[in-house]
Point group: C2
Chain length 486, copies 2
């Protein structure tokens, strides 16, 4: 990481911890440069980065100050409870999302794609090359149906970090988390069955329900606490729910990590109504805080949690290496895996196992978490400045997506012509709902290292939304005034 | 290929074409060595190979002769028609088959696994290494949902060899043929629906039907002509069949390639009853004869054939690169693929595309087809000598599996203790049937280069079967007499 980002991280943490009080002046560039033994330019760059993140403001001819009132944007609101399970709505939009991918050089804010250009991934590339070169029986053969044993050994160790125990033989490697989720749903549900699902939730889950003809009972989720246990209890009480589908850690798209006591409450509910839980922990290793929060499965006493995950967000999605710890549903899930696609390709499994075994994973995660957290702050600030008043922004605890809520009357699909014209890709809110709710919301990814086009895209969207809302203009040139007003 | 195998191939073909009449003596080793400019040892090795394949016999102090009556074994019988669709039977055995895999150094005759140690695969390994080394965006990113475009270009060319046209954009890359089949079945059928399936058929298909709660209507198949059109017509006439599932080229396990006029008949039936056909063409490129037989899809006029295939038999199963040409069911199949496992891993796709694009595929296929055909002959002869009278053996037209039918009273599962003890893996006949028929049959793979243990395993099985049948003993020491008697 470059020097100035390091310094910005340190100072940023101090400001957030209140070591520099609101309204106070920070050391001069010269003093700080002496104190940390870095160049003047480095300090200036760090201060500018903190300004971009909304943590500092520059006063001409005076210096850098902690803003008096750090204008935090309001969090998104919790959705209204639904009254009944429903069939999942159309998938046309997902296709659009994928089709747009094909454009040349889009500004990709739509897809939950990690930054795969990080130098900390180099040992993985080396492992892939080595394994490709020696590709013999091991990587050309069908792998063990459950996955390459060396990888399952490593996954079993990772499980401990997430607070649960899983012997290598209790795990099944899958083609990404998507296959893990699909196997879990198909193992537990028949067409017509009902699944309770946190809302909003990852669109891939909604589409699994659709294609298996399973009905979704959307349970509203709080942007801090996660799935509403009250609404869930009501649903479980009144409907024959076959499974509960949740993303408790660094949830996609809202970014919350459920507090431990809420996780306990969720497990107790599941036990009381004797319902299995499908837990998606794909972002668990990308929670910014330390220690890593436990998986729901850590609280599981009777094998009712099916934990699904993959390396698609932590390493690279193209590996298609995921896994499932299916608890007591092992046999059925393995059958689904076997009939669905046979064993998973061994080559990437072997390479990932090597990367983990050689100890490259923790340093890589540290690096990525810092990058994603830093960029969360910067993108939040950009949105706060560029988007109209009344915009609500999530404050994710991990991962790399922001959830933006616009005034209720706004339809993000009204932006489509502008987005297409400018090659900007976003994820519209309604794909995260079975019922097509959240049309006034969007999810923006802040994974890839920002370029000037990233900021430009946010400003351009802000301006377009402002115009469409027929509200006070909030284009780039007005960012300053806009900021002080919001 | 070694010199003696080349010579054996040439002579073998002449014998089969009748250029050397039955009972006639072949040139002396010395003469042949002079004629072909090869060493005496080479000729001797070639003659011995032909003897092993049953094409020559040695007469002490006289020379090598074409046997008077080449005792062809009878072909397996066509199964009895079934009266109704049924639920597919248990999968416990499949698990056994996979578990046994884990043994050290088994004699693997059970799995449909190609020989991945062929030197003609080396360019593929090089491509994998190169791609691993440069693994950047392209191979770490999610690939295009339909699969890497460069691969689909190549697949579109291969389609022409199989007689059908498929634009790259009409194809979907899958994780092996298994995922292609699974997507096809799930796209066409709901639980409780009925599928007509050639019987016996690949066990993975039976298990897909089981896990999707689709009923199987088994249609008996002739070991030369393939699926019985008469029985199929009856089934279509009386039951609401949602799809027809067939392996028309080098079928697994029977090895037939349906004659062109039967293929036409099948298409006509499907049109008349307006039913889609799921065609598994995974062994199509491994048909021994020339030209390669057309896929059923070549005769398809209205997009009702969903062709499924992969490189698992032609290159290596560990690549997990398959594809589907889903005709008019494209949208639905793509959705199944997306929800089931997301896009397929790009790295192996890119490597395969390179292997194809550089023109390595035809030479590799030529080599493998010869190896598999040669070994078919040798294994057939071993079985003929070692197994009891009344044994029927398929005469496959491609691929690398033999189907062996024992007397009706025999249960191949009675062999299990002996197989376990000796580390011999076979595929029991009943996994190829939804109803658990064919318990008196087994499928033996002859892909991997034979070792002395291969022949030993066949003899040991033959002896054990003989004992179990309480029939005249047919152990190794009696092979000679047994042969002349059968
Ligand atoms: C919450 C969540 N689960 C699952 C997936 C699918 O992951 P994979 O690419 O490993 O199939 C994603 C990817 O976007 C996701 O965000
Ligand atoms: C006829 C047939 N179809 C499909 C498959 C599965 O192939 P893949 O390994 O490509 O999923 C096999 C493998 O045994 C097979 O024999």
């Amino acid at each position: 990481m470059s020097r100035y980002l390091n310094l910005a991280d340190t100072l940023g943490r101090r400001i957030e911890q209140g070591l520099y009080a609101a309204g106070s002046r920070l050391p001069s560039v010269r003093d700080l440069s002496a104190e940390y033994g870095v160049s003047l330019t480095t300090v200036q760059q760090a201060y500018r980065w903190l300004e971009m993140s909304g943590l500092l403001e520059a006063r001409p001819r005076s210096g850098w100050y902690v803003p008096m009132t750090r204008s935090a944007s309001a969090l998104p609101r919790m959705g209204k409870p639904t009254l009944r399970p429903i069939d999942v709505s159309e998938w046309g939009q997902i296709q659009d999302l994928l089709d747009l991918e094909r454009e040349e050089q889009p500004v990709q804010l739509g897809r939950g794609m990690p930054d795969v250009e990080s130098p900390s991934l180099r040992p993985l590339q080396a492992a892939l090359a080595r394994e490709g070169r020696h590709a013999g029986i091991a990587s050309l053969h069908y792998s063990d149906m459950q996955g390459v044993p060396a990888l399952r050994e490593q996954l079993s160790r990772l499980a401990l970090d997430a607070g649960y125990q899983a012997a290598p033989d209790s795990l099944i490697v899958t083609s990404g988390c998507q296959e893990a989720l699909s196997c879990a749903v198909r193992a537990l549900c028949a067409p017509g069955d009902i699944v309770a699902i946190a809302s909003p939730s990852y669109h891939g889950m909604m589409q699994i329900l659709k294609e298996t003809d399973v009905q979704a009972f959307e349970i509203p989720s709080d942007p801090v606490q996660g799935i509403s246990l009250e609404a869930l209890e009501l649903a479980l009480d009144r409907w024959p729910v076959k499974a509960i589908l949740v993303i408790p850690n660094a949830s996609n798209p809202l970014g919350y990590t459920m507090p431990e006591h809420r996780k306990r409450g969720l497990i107790r509910l599941a036990q009381r109504f004797d319902v299995p839980i499908i837990e998606d922990d794909i972002y668990g290793d990308l929670v910014y805080g330390w220690p890593r929060p436990h998986a729901l499965k850590a609280l599981d006493e009777d094998g009712r949690v099916l934990l699904c995950s993959s390396f698609s967000k932590t390493l690279a999605p193209g590996l298609r290496v995921g896994w499932i710890a299916p608890g007591r549903y092992f046999d059925k899930v393995l059958r689904m895996k076997y009939t669905g696609s046979g064993p998973t390709a061994p080559l990437p499994q072997i390479a990932v196992a090597e990367f983990l075994q050689k100890g490259h994973y923790p340093a890589h995660l540290r690096r990525m978490r810092r990058q994603y957290q830093r960029q969360r702050d910067v993108m939040t600030e950009w949105v706060r400045r560029a988007f109209p008043e009344g915009t609500r922004i999530s404050h994710p605890q991990g991962g790399f997506t922001l959830w933006i809520e616009l005034p209720e009357s706004f339809d993000t699909h009204a932006l489509d012509p502008m987005l297409r014209k400018n090659g900007i890709l976003i994820a519209h809110g309604d794909i995260f709902s079975a019922a097509g709710k959240y049309r006034n919301c969007m999810r923006l990814s802040h994974a890839a290292v920002f370029t000037p086009r990233t900021e430009w895209a946010i400003r351009a969207m802000g301006a377009a939304i402002g115009e469409l809302l027929d509200a006070p203009l909030s284009g780039p040139r007005h960012a300053e005034t806009q900021t002080s007003a919001s």
